[in-house]
Assembly symmetry: C3
Homo-oligomer: 402 residues x 3
């Protein structure tokens, strides 16, 4: 018993460390995708967002989701070798993924402190509502709507909807609130600012992919519930995403490295019920969806989503929630126990809630503080404007740039 507990703590801890590493991935993915003058801001934003998220999730959010408060004495809360504490750590790294997702969409033009305030509201108040509803069956929605009426509880094993669609659609709202970067859509043909560094973009993607196996497999939360099926399905969906994005994106490195992420976003929900071939297809469709919709949304619809987080997390997450109701069916080789209608309704509701929450939070923050850098600050870049330093200070001194 005691040994089992120690092993469970270890299992979940490794998951928490891996998902924590994903936040480094978010940071470097943004560093490589934005322009040089906004690299420092990307790094500071992700790290500070993580700290703010963890703090407010500790103080408020986790209690809203699970009804557990940590203000008891250490002796009490560390019972069971501190399993509950590591569970908090694990789930805090999920909660902090929401502002990390949004960060990439609103990059290069948001003010720093207002964006931190929005992070606190999203993680402290909004995210716990969806997290608790889906995973802790708060408010009875799982029982009374999904299980009773739609045939099965809404399944979101590792967060295609709870984390990714929620975050991606909240980002969509935040991007609309902020508006496009200066000069982005001034002419008939959109001007696409080129990424600063493919190696940093790739490093971000690698850290995300590596950590994602913890995100998915450790979502079982203990060794008895752990399933190797989740691991292989994550692997196959990632490979499907890479290959589809390679084809759809014509060898473009940004698409290929984000294609891996698209597959992983989509597989979260159904990774413990699909057949590996279903997972591969789910990932491949996500890879193609990302490439297509990133281009459509940023070029045609003129939504200035810098890292394509709406297409990546919002749409591929939405697809993943629904795909769980397709490839999870026993008829398609899955483990069953899911229904298409539950997944469809739950996914759409989750995405819609993300959009509503994002709309409210970013509107409130914008109204109160002003979310956007001044045109002059934006032109000089967030690094110099906010952090008084560029990404390569030595070069600035050497080249007399500063």
């Amino acid at each position: 018993m005691e040994q089992q507990q120690g092993a469970d703590v270890f299992f979940l801890l490794v998951g928490a460390i891996l998902v924590f590493a994903m936040h480094g991935g978010f940071a470097f993915l943004e560093v490589g995708t934005v322009r040089h003058k906004n690299q420092v801001n990307a790094l500071v934003k992700i790290l500070v967002d993580f700290a703010i998220s963890t703090t407010v999730y500790f103080a408020i959010g986790y209690t809203l989701s699970y009804g557990i408060t940590f203000f008891a004495a250490a002796q009490t809360i560390s019972a069971g070798q501190g399993y509950e504490l590591v569970k908090f750590f694990f789930l805090a790294t999920f909660a902090a993924a929401v502002p990390a997702i949004i960060s990439g969409g609103i990059a290069e033009r948001a003010r720093f402190l207002p964006q931190c305030a929005a992070t606190a509201l999203m993680v402290g108040l909004a995210y716990p509502l969806i997290e608790g509803t889906v995973w802790n069956r708060n408010f009875g929605l799982q029982d009374h709507l999904f299980a009773s009426i739609l045939g099965a509880p809404f399944k979101d094993f590792a967060g295609s909807i709870v984390v990714h669609a929620f975050g991606g659609w909240a980002a969509f709202a935040a991007i609309r609130q902020l508006g496009p970067r200066i000069g982005r859509y001034d002419r008939s043909r959109p001007m696409s600012p080129p990424p600063s560094s493919i190696p940093w973009l790739a490093m971000g993607s690698w850290l995300l992919c590596i950590g994602w196996f913890g995100f998915n497999v450790m979502s079982a939360q203990n060794l008895r519930a752990e399933s190797g099926l989740v691991a292989i399905n994550s692997l196959m969906a990632m490979c499907g995403g890479i290959l589809a994005a390679l084809l759809a994106g014509r060898n473009d490195p940004g698409f290929v490295h984000n294609g891996a992420l698209a597959g992983l976003v989509a597989i979260c929900a159904g990774s413990d019920v699909m057949h590996p071939i279903g997972a591969f297809l789910t990932g491949a469709i996500a890879g193609g969806l990302f490439v297509t919709m990133f281009q459509v949304s940023t070029n045609k619809w003129r939504i200035d989503d810098v890292l394509g987080v709406w297409a990546l997390h919002g749409l591929c997450g939405l697809w993943g929630g629904i795909a769980c109701g397709i490839f999870g069916l026993a008829a398609l080789g899955g483990m069953g126990g899911v229904t298409f209608q539950s997944q469809l309704v739950g996914s759409v509701l989750g995405a819609a809630f993300g959009f509503v929450a994002g709309t409210i939070v970013y509107w409130v923050v914008h109204s109160a503080f002003g979310l956007r850098l001044s045109p002059d600050e934006e032109r000089r870049g967030a690094d110099i404007s906010i952090h008084k330093i560029s990404a390569n200070p030595e070069d600035d001194v050497r080249l007399g740039r500063l």
Copy 2:
């Protein structure tokens, strides 16, 4: 029982994640070692090769090696908490190391899609033959040749031969098929294109070293077979490789960071039977071997092996297979159960098979599609030629390079 199974799945999963991280290491090692104009291609190659390898290994290769096919229903194959599925994941990351090794040797001049086709053939058909023969005792070679005649089964605990020598000698064949880069050996003194970035090269080496502990220790495949001896021997061999390469390479950073890898390549085979001091010596010899033979092969023999993968994986792997028959002997402090003749014969056969397989596969692909970039494409670099983008697109725009 159930708990044991969960723990084994966890153990092997951590190994799989660590070896997956090594592929990021392969990518960044190549990014740092090649010239700027080929960095993007290095990144895309490794990621796409990983996806192709996993897919063909899932569809064909794993069945060839172990007789297990994954086309059953998910319920069936996920028995035992999906241990078999995680084992596939673990071994797929090994299989995918073969094209990752070759990639470094043929860098800066290979066409992309033909190279992908070669990857599929190597991982789908060639690698399973050696993997199954050594690790699954297919074809009776282990029983009838090694155990009966040479005194002991051929031992290759974590793949000095099966993965590294096989991949390194296949790379040797591929390099010969492709020929040297333009201008490399036009003059009496070879022109050595300088590496683009030592920090990226070092990052690649670090990711490889970190992941390598999973490559070696988790090769036990379950907790009962796990041995801390493997961990300390990997550590000591890595240190031996670093220090020998430092001395032989006269403080050169490329040699030092690859010296760590040389030691780790060499220790794979015998890591569970050597004494730590034997492991240190095995690694030190590998470090010296790599530095010497990289210089000899690329400068004297004019083999244009960009990352030195033949010296690193081919020769140090070969040495590692043989070293297992030396320092693994009880007389030299080892655990015994190995014979020098088994290790010598098995190692040479494995390397030879890699060379033959590489020769056939890359000849077939070259004949069918043409493996090599046109001289003009090569001069412009694989990034612009294949991926239509450079590693730092913003700089190109800013400096008017594109």
Copy 3:
């Protein structure tokens, strides 16, 4: 029983791998903080220091600390699935942190081989004295001074004092021995050489943060002693450090990323006894302490500590040892079992021992070999002077710099 042992080996191995990854973090943190002309040296120093440290700790240091020698046959020492060997691996990664800490303080001006010699002395002889005294209760200090007189054994769960304060104060001595870099304090206002790359600095910080969870949690050394409290406290201290450094450092990216480390340094000692809110405060105070004292020590006191390792490891480590005697008290929500006086005395003694050991070792090495690069070598940079290559050799060739 056997299964328990396997699980413990696995647990400690994951810890060892994580702390090993921290060494990559040390390397890249230094790469990003130093100037371009010293990046290669930073990378080679950390990797070679790690190899030297491990080797001398294997040969001498570990025996001094724990009385275990590894020169027996492999069969003997690999008993219990090699638990003792993995324990060595884990503790060797701690020992090697000492020269890695010092490295950052003496960057940009130290000769390479003398610095390697100092590493061997620090890890082979000096560090085992403090490690054995605190953790193995050598010399009876824990029993006769702390437990009997000061009310409780001196507690340093994961090394705020044994590793960080010891290393940071030894670095202080080494920095004094070396003197400031040329031109650093020539004028009335100190000249601060700008860091070369914030992204590399950040990558170093991320690797350190990720690995740190292994440093702290796995210090329990087995699954029965493992505690989730250590994990959440590390998390909360890190977040406290980030937020305090953000405020004190006015959004500066170097301060924010080092602030995370400051919190983690400070929480090592008491991470298994504090309440998470105590941990947050401990980390926050450390973050503020680092920012303030880095500025005071390098600008006012003219101590040319390049990475601020004295403030980061020396002072925040010292604070962490003492904080364990404050927030560890049951009265402040902690688990108790510690006394303020034990922690104060032990912390000050540990830091003082680091300063004395560093003073002796770096004076001896300086007297014997000369620790400092010639002014000309220093001006050209350690990369070209020592390693005959720069961090971006291709650029040098292209721009005709070499």
